[in-house]
């Protein structure tokens, strides 16, 4: 098998996913274009070396619809020989896109590819593309469908995470993210978003609230109580997990991932392609995997896929220097660390989506870049990135510095 290397990783800063967010005036294709341009320009890359661009997008409809990857390639003025494809593995799409792009290289079918993703949540609302999973009675009945917030609360209820536990985790995420920004740990990867005249629209993650404290979080009402009790979702969850007496609704906007706009791109290639382009590899994609898990609790996939990918890599939990697990909800990370016995000091060391936000289609590629930066900064070798996924899945990738 051919080795696949990461040559570069870029991401936009994350804008608040609301009409008053700094990126709200930017189209999705423009945001994706700016990451592709950054990859080209930072590496003075002849884009005709690139075979394919794979972008994740979770609601590929309206302006994000119709193969936004190829559209962004054209918009970025890449060589017309560069093809593009949009893929969807819900919240892990950004990582999945990278894995698929890497797979083309590892299987010897391509030499240089880009993986990444884009999601303009302020412009194309979450869930806009619909889908049978959440709606079709024939599907929802047998899969005990509940929305993710209920699943997160179910995890907390089943595995015993209190409101204090999930809030403490959120406070720490904010603290770490703020620290990382202050110290410039993200500087290498974040490319400011510019307007058509080159004026800067946003150069930092604007969802962060570094002043967050246990007191400020305590004031927030749980977000999913009404949905759980009035729309019957709590009952559905309990029918699937009858050992749970009641769903404790502990999650709210402050301990769940933020809704934001953002895009990311990872430049991948085999050794020869890097040489031809005159660029240096930063890390090797060692292994990746996906898995399906029980769809009602939905968000427990990361531990299963981690076990799977570690086994495939011949590694143990302790062999991984740093973990990045997407902070979809506090309880997802807490359960992940609990079941695998991983210390918080090795996990999400620079914060995560609770502080900085989760632009669905892009996040996987974003946190892969974060992990790589931090391995380099600490001069460590091996890192693992994983995300929980709607409808019960997990995706994970192990990278190794070279």
């Amino acid at each position: 098998m051919t080795d696949c290397y990461i040559y570069d990783a870029v991401r936009t800063p994350r804008g608040k996913g609301k009409p008053n967010g700094s990126l709200h005036e930017v189209t999705a294709v423009e945001l994706a274009r700016q990451t592709l341009c950054a990859v080209r320009d930072r590496n003075q890359l002849d884009t005709s070396l690139i075979d394919d661009v794979v972008l994740g997008c979770v609601d590929p409809i309206y302006e994000q619809g119709g193969d936004i990857a190829r559209t962004a390639v054209l918009h970025a003025d890449y060589a017309e020989t560069v093809s593009g494809v949009q893929i969807n593995r819900f919240c892990a799409s950004g990582l999945e896109a990278t894995n698929m792009a890497a797979a083309q290289i590892m299987s010897g079918q391509a030499d240089m590819t880009i993986g990444g993703g884009v999601e303009m949540m302020s412009r194309v609302p979450i869930g806009a593309s619909g889908g049978a999973w959440t709606t079709d009675p024939q599907v929802t009945f047998n899969t005990y469908f509940v929305p993710q917030g209920i699943s997160a609360d179910l995890i907390a209820s089943k595995y015993g995470f209190s409101r204090d536990d999930v809030d403490s985790y959120a406070v720490e995420s904010q603290k770490r993210a703020a620290h990382a920004w202050e110290e410039g740990y993200f500087a290498n990867t974040v490319v400011p978003v510019k307007d058509i005249n080159g004026l800067t629209l946003l150069d930092h993650d604007e969802h962060m609230r570094p002043e967050t404290s246990m007191q400020s979080l305590a004031a927030l009402e749980p977000a999913f109580t009404l949905m759980g009790t009035q729309a019957g979702f709590d009952d559905v969850a309990i029918q699937r997990y009858p050992e749970v007496a009641r769903i404790d609704h502990v999650h709210h906007a402050g301990n769940s991932s933020g809704i934001v706009d953002g895009a990311a791109a990872i430049l991948l290639g085999n050794k020869e392609a890097g040489k031809a382009a005159g660029i240096k590899p930063r890390a090797r994609i060692r292994n990746f995997a996906t898995i399906g898990s029980e769809p009602c609790i939905m968000l427990t996939g990361p531990s299963y896929v981690t076990e799977k990918v570690l086994k495939r890599a011949g590694l143990a939990v302790g062999d991984i220097d740093l973990y990045e697990i997407n902070e979809a909800f506090s309880a997802v990370v807490l359960r992940y660390m609990q079941v695998l016995g991983i210390d918080h000091s090795k996990t999400n060391v620079n914060g995560g989506a609770i502080a900085m936000g989760h632009p669905l289609g892009a996040t996987g590629a974003m946190i892969l870049g974060t992990l790589l930066d931090e391995l380099e900064r600490r001069d460590l070798t091996t890192g693992l990135v994983t995300l929980c996924i709607g409808s019960g899945m997990g995706a994970a990738t192990i990278i190794e510095r070279v």
């Binding site: 709606t135 929305p147 949905m227 019957g232 029918q239 749970v244």
Partner: protein, 732 residues
Amino acid sequence: MSYKNFNIDIDKDGIALVTWDMPERSVNVVDAVAAAEFVALIEQFKTDAQIKGVVLTSAKQVFCAGLDLQMLKHEGGELADSSTKEEDKIKSTFDSVQRMTKFLRALETCGKPIVAALNGLALGGGLEIALACHYRVVVNDPRLKLGLPEVTIGLLPGAGGTQRLPRLIGVEKALPMLLQGKSIDPQTALKLGLVNKMVSADKLIDEAKHWLREEGNPVQAWDEKTFRVSGGKPTQTGEQLFAMGNAMLRAKTKGNYPAPHYIMSCVYEGVSVPIDAGLRIESRYFAKLFLRPESKNMVNSLFINMQALGKGARRPQHVPPSKIAKLGVLGAGMMGAAIAHVSARAGMKIVLLDSELKLAEKGKAHVAAQVDRAIERGRANESQKQILLDSIQPTSDYADLKECDLIIEAVFEDKSIKAEVVKQAEAQFTKETETVFGTNTSTIPITELAQASIRPDKFIGVHFFSPVERMQLVEIIISKTTSEETLAKTMDYVAALRKVPIIVNDSRGFYTSRCVSTYITEGQLMLMEGIDPVLIENLGIMAGMPMPPLALNDEVALDLSYKIYQQYKADLGEKFTATAASDLIENMVVKHKRLGKKNGKGFYDWPSDPKGVKKLWHGLADIAPVTKRIDDIDIEELKRRLLYIQTIEMVRCVDENVITDLRDADIGAILGWGFAPFTGGPASFIDMIGIERFVAEADELAEKYGERFAPPPLLRDLASKQTPFLQALNKN
């Protein structure tokens, strides 16, 4: 042309007034003949140039009560098929239901405008006919019911109901009607847009003809090119409505009821495509549903058998009908007052007797309070209240009982107290007095109580369920000495109350109390095995029971369970063996003073505020520590235990001749203690599982958990002959 079911009268404007009038029946229903004539009628509408428009109405008090139940029978019914191959059966059911659907489709596309003039109730297929008309006029009578109740007997409206109703009134408004099966009155129907016009009875036909003359559009809205269903196509814009609707539905059904689930799919899939495709989708789900055992059993029990029992199928036919004009009620407590209430409501004169006049009057005041509540909810008025209260005579004088046709005692559940009131009442009578004496005991064998009577042939058990106002069942208990006349009179009384009787022979706990107690006990035994009470309770509900076993025990009171155990001990002497369950109850009641809901402390801590949330008592952790891990538990097996133990007790009742008609077993279980209705009742449940498999699984449970699961010989015998359980009592 002339028809057996329909009169047709064409006026000078060319408007055909078609009056449905089924010969030899009091209501119109859709049977095979009516359906065939309907097809011919539609052909006439289409081809007869003289006819410009049609008014469809009925000569009966009702417009149409829906499909004839003969059509729904699985054996020999119109929709059934004798094929043994499952796919042939499905095909044949699909074809049959498509024929129905197609003739209604032909009606709405015949090119002539059709008005449904709804002079009386239109339910099920009856309303579906009206929905296939181009205009609906209804009589302004609040008692007139319109609805699609199919779901309540495990079916779905298969003649276009799931397609036309959402297209007519919008998906969001249609779903509750389709999923709950509740009927609505004309005023509500008008507001929903289900009917176009509401008029007084004398103007009904004029109004219908008026529309035909003035507008008379023969094209349904959904056949117009510009048609858009209110709320949009479910597959495109139904995300919110269906994501939540599906969850709310599952929260209610626990996944046990396929009918509402399929109805959701009919609407979701069918309303997103043109109506002809939608109607085919509906027919496909109907065929699939019709052949599911839940549907088959629910139709059989909740429709066919329930109706039969309600109409007195088990009444000794040779005894002439009787009327209860005057009823004596002994004991004016909650139960006595409630019996007085429902009986007065049925037009009887009531003598309400208690040991002191004051107590009898208190009972009457209780009735008054109940009626006041009904008035508050708009379900009764002041004049009805007055008539009702005037018919109740409170007294402490046994001589007032003299003219009663029937006496029901509802005094304290104690053998000697009951014997005493029997004696005092009977002192008013001679051996020849016709008055029947009924006892509303739930636990004391009536053969023992009858010993206090000088007229044991007139002595019978009349077991009401609480709350009497709401519970439809009456369990009639006959002893060896009860006469057929006594039984017939008691059944006439129950019929007058519009309740459903079952008849059982005397036994400790009779039928209902005996079976339901096994459910409660099984929950207690699981608790003592170290299973998390949270799990036990949730599984009780998921198995289809209306209440979890431990909560149910709290409701009926733990000290009552304790007393029953004490009574067994006294009666059985050395033969009584304590079980983990009886020890648990003793521990709860004697040591921890936890009596159940009545003192706020049972397996749960009950909140004093009725809106509060009850919580499992933390002390259970010491009495019955949880030792079984969830991952080591077979959840399906626990659910099976909760239903099988009741079912096996039912079989014992059959074996011991307590139950002599399996319709009583099924209906008594569903109406009496809410035994998982989707099964059709415990007797039908055995055949739903398959008798051989049921016996094998019961054997397995007996091996693991004790002899209480051992299949009685009757069951084993039937299984060995591969005879369905429902044929157990068939006379050869």
